[in-house]
Amino acid sequence: MVGIIGAGSLLASFLLTVMCLNQVGASGPIQSTLYHFMSIDRLSLDFGFLVDQLSVWMMMIITGVGFLIHVYSIGYMHDDEGFYKFFAYLNLFVFSMLLLVMGDNFLMLFFGWEGVGLCSYLLIGFWYTNRDYGTAARKAFIMNRVGDLGLLLGMFFIIKTFGSLAYKDVFAQLAGADPAMVTVICLLLFVGAMGKSAQIPLYTWLPDAMAGPTPVSALIHAATMVTAGVYLVTRCNGLFSMSPDAMHVVAIVGLVTAVFTAIIGLRQNDIKKVLAYSTVSQLGLMFLSLGMGAYVSAMFHVTTHAFFKALLFLSAGSVIHGMGGEQDIRNMGGLRKYMPVTFWVFLIGTFAISGFPLLSGFFSKDEIFANTYAHGGAIWWAMASVSAVLTAVYMCRLLYVTFFGEFRGTEEQRHHIHESPSVMTIPLMVLAVLSVVGGLLNTPHFMHLPGSQWMAHWLAGNGVNGTPIVPMAEVHLSASTEWSLMSFTTALALLVIVALYFVYGKVANLPVSDQKQTGFTKVVANKFYVDELYNSLFVKPTEALSKFLYQYADIQGVDGVVNGVGTGVSKLGAIFRRLQNGNIEYYLIGMVVGAALLFLTIFI
């Protein structure tokens, strides 16, 4: 029953979203204001909605993928005592996420922004009896709040500069805005995006967020919430396009994040951790794309990533479910025999993200690379390609170690392994299909395939003053350059897929370097000790300062002075105290009578 309400409400939302999609396609954006949330003089902050080509696109992902994940959760969370609570939180999340993308102003976005952060906190710490999970949940919320402070300050600058938080007012006044101010605004908004979308330096919460149930990782920490930062920048493309400096920062942060976290992903052995670092890395690629001015490509990758990463997480969940809670891939192996459906969909997901020709990730990544080459140059493109190769490496390692070779777990586990029920596998199959064909939403022009730049045209729509909602990036490359770029990265991906098969897929035992980690691999496996660094840079000093301020500054310092000053007064007080004979009743009556007499004088 709980499951039906939970998933049913999402199905209803999805159908309504499809209706919105039709209406937007037929007659343009829908705007509606529910009520004035706060009004301060001429500044009216409204509870208002805007469903345009961009937001309805996000809504399709949120409700569509969200519905599949809800259905899957009915099976996955079946035995959990917090089943009803899980769906309550999950639905609250979808509400907040929709608020985020449907708002017609920055304040509404902020409501959703913090709302999804809250739901993320609740769901990461869903199994609350485990203290470590609670810590991970708190870490996520607090790191997000660091970003939120940036977003909040960005909003203050927007109010000051444009006198409004409504998108239409802000975007209509772009032409006259002070460029320096716009840069400040963009950078502050981007700080918010770094928190929510887990970019360097605010990324360390996301891998820890894997403490939550796996459907949560799929929905919140892969498909939807973490892409909110990409949505924010895309929504504000007019602002960002005015500030080359801000764009540069976005591109650099994105690229560094993409490469750095992909390296970490190479040496993780927890199936969900690999996927988590992969998510951070893919988000980095999206920001790289944004920084190159290729907003559509970023949104395209958001879309395909939602398909294949949700697929990968959910099939990882299926593996964990089948293995009775085991998450260490070193204790798996040979699972394709035991879980054929999960194996095939995982394989599709892996190939899609690795850029296997004609699968969805192939198209969306190719667009990002083409734009990087066109707008950034060969070096940027080469760096991005490195991250793509790394992606293929860690994903193929994950695939082969988990599903190929011999089973390495305990006998008990071997008996337990089973394929997941169809309530879980059917959503997987749907996502697998989407991961295969998702690329057709926006195939590149030069290939002359169906769906050529369809998404780009859709998102261009008609925004304020007839400017496009999301402008198409112009790629001035010859078809032959585009073909060769594409062939090169594809060849690399295929090479990795084949080569890794011989390292991990065809061998009975794991290579030594994956069992015993020493030297540099150990540093990588320990995530470059960034958590430890943050701990000693921020957490420990704050805690020490807290104790110091309390013990010394407050009790001995400030209060000491107060007490010193007060000593004289206390002595006076001691004299006055003798007037009290201890009978409080007597004393109180005197006071009330006195007060009453005082008031009586009014009438005399």
């Binding site: 009520y35 485990n130 607090i142 709040r145 402070l149 007064v569 206390s570 005082l598």
Partner: protein, 481 residues
């Protein structure tokens, strides 16, 4: 109606203290509810263009130019709503436990309410001062009689500190009074017209500031507060933190700045620095507090520091933020102190480390506590958010960097509140917490009302902002620097 709000609880108080009737609890609660009803009616039938409603103006001590004049503009109405909304909640929450000598306790609470209403309604300087001091007496006794360990030492310090503060205000008021033309007057309208030189204004403002800074309290005048909050009985703590500290904020808005605008430019940078320092300072201290009640006491210092900074910034955002936040902080802090109280009554401890796993055995409590906690963390669509947004914007308008530093409160607030919630509610149960019983009917009512207010005011802050909008415009327009 203004007069009723003062006289009804005062008569009831005298009745309880002198006649000691039976059914004390019901009488006290009934008086609280009646007062709330009067406030609602007063609010309903008022104009919000900045004028004073429901005035009563009677000659009192004519020779000295003191009149018993009370009335309410939009700001006054907000304060009256705050006081009389929280009173029934505080009385109801006190009834969850056995209290010795109930007639005396509730009599004092009602006397306190009369005095608080008087403070917020007075339009005469001397009357304001009298009520301001009158409020101190019942709360002193509440803390000194029903308080915990060290109550005599702690409450005496509290009493002396705040009393001395008020004396400085008295000096300032008298100085202004003597500057009024003709036969002199304490009327707000006369006092506000007094022109002072900058030097005079600085001294007068400092007198007011000391009184109000101690009451709020603003760093570094806050050290009486954590001890007093921890030592007081919960009802006393709620009165202090929910309503009484707002006397200081209210005093700054109504009296201090309008009386001495000449000194604003000179002194505000210092006051602002103190307030913002206090936000960060108290937040950081709250991070590692092990005593839950003390943690909330420090968090309250941080929140009030932000409110004070918003007032000092003296712009529309800051003032509107400080006003709405006074109401919402009052609601949340009453809820939080009640949470601490009911944990302490069940477990016999306030130490966070000795808790854990309560969510498992008391799901209803867990949900309501969570909602109130989120309000305190100022998550959007809870009541903590609108005020924090406006206050930070107000401070930010005054100075961008100060605004950013004050903004750290949204990070630290999450750090200490989530830590406290996690330590109390999450994890495995221990021997004591396994026996934790979920909320009974009365407790559910109190926390339920608070949680409902958190959400309703979180979704519809404009209801409150509209109350004070006209008055704030008028004040901002009339006070010229």
């Amino acid at each position: 109606m203004s007069f009723l709000l003062i006289i009804v609880p005062l008569i009831a108080s005298a009745l309880l203290l002198l006649a000691r009737p039976s059914g004390v609890r019901q009488i006290a609660l009934a008086v609280g509810v009646v007062n709330f009803a009067i406030s609602i009616f007063a609010a309903y039938s008022a104009l919000y263009d900045g004028t004073v409603n429901h005035e009563t103006n009677i000659a009192w001590i004519e020779q000295a130019g003191i009149r018993f004049s009370v009335g309410m503009d939009g700001i006054g109405i907000l304060m009256i709503l705050l006081t009389n909304l929280l009173t029934p909640l505080i009385i109801l929450s006190s009834q969850s436990q056995r209290i010795d000598n109930e007639p005396r306790y509730y009599g004092l609470v009602l006397m306190m309410v009369a005095a608080l209403n008087g403070v917020f309604l007075s339009t005469d300087g001397m009357l304001f001062y009298i009520f301001y001091e009158l409020a101190l007496i019942p709360i002193y006794f509440i803390c000194a009689i029903w308080g915990g360990e060290n109550r005599i030492r702690v409450t005496l310090k509290f009493f002396i500190y705040t009393f001395v503060g008020s004396l400085f205000m008295l000096v300032s008021l008298l100085y202004l009074y003597l500057k009024t033309p003709g036969t002199h007057s304490f009327a707000w309208t006369d006092l506000v017209n007094v022109q002072l030189s900058t030097v005079e204004a600085i001294w007068v403002m400092l007198g007011f500031f000391f009184a109000f800074a101690v009451k709020m309290p603003v760093f570094p005048f806050h050290t009486w507060q954590p001890d007093t909050y921890v030592t007081s009985p919960t009802g006393g703590t709620m009165l202090l933190s929910g309503i009484m500290l707002k006397m200081g904020v209210y005093g700054a808005i109504r009296w201090m700045i309008p009386m001495t605008p000449e000194a604003w430019h000179t002194l505000t940078p210092y006051f602002m620095a103190l307030a913002v320092t206090g936000i960060v300072y108290a937040s950081i201290i709250a991070v590692k507090q092990s005593d839950f009640k003390r943690l909330i006491a420090y968090s309250s210092i941080a929140h009030v520091g932000l409110i004070a900074a918003g007032v000092m910034a003296w712009n529309k955002m800051g003032l509107q933020g400080s006003l709405i936040q006074m109401l919402n902080h009052g609601i949340n802090v009453v809820g939080l102190f009640f949470v601490v109280d009911l944990i302490e009554r069940r477990l016999g401890t306030r130490t966070l480390r000795q808790m854990g796993g309560i969510a498992k055995v008391a799901p209803r409590f867990a949900v309501l506590f969570m909602i109130i906690m989120l309000g305190a963390v100022a998550v959007p669509l809870t009541n903590g958010f609108p005020g924090e947004f406006l206050l930070l914007n107000g401070v930010w308008q005054y100075n961008n960097w100060l605004g950013a530093i004050a903004g750290l409160t949204i990070i630290f607030g999450a750090v200490y509140m989530l830590r406290a919630y996690g330590m109390a509610m999450f994890g495995e149960t221990n021997a004591e917490t396994a026996e934790f019983t979920d909320l009974d009917g009365r407790e559910t009512a109190v926390l339920g009302i608070v949680a409902a207010l958190v959400l309703v005011l979180g979704f519809f802050p404009n209801i409150i902002l509209q109350l004070t909008d006209g008055t704030v415009n008028r004040i901002l327009g009339s006070v010229q620097f």
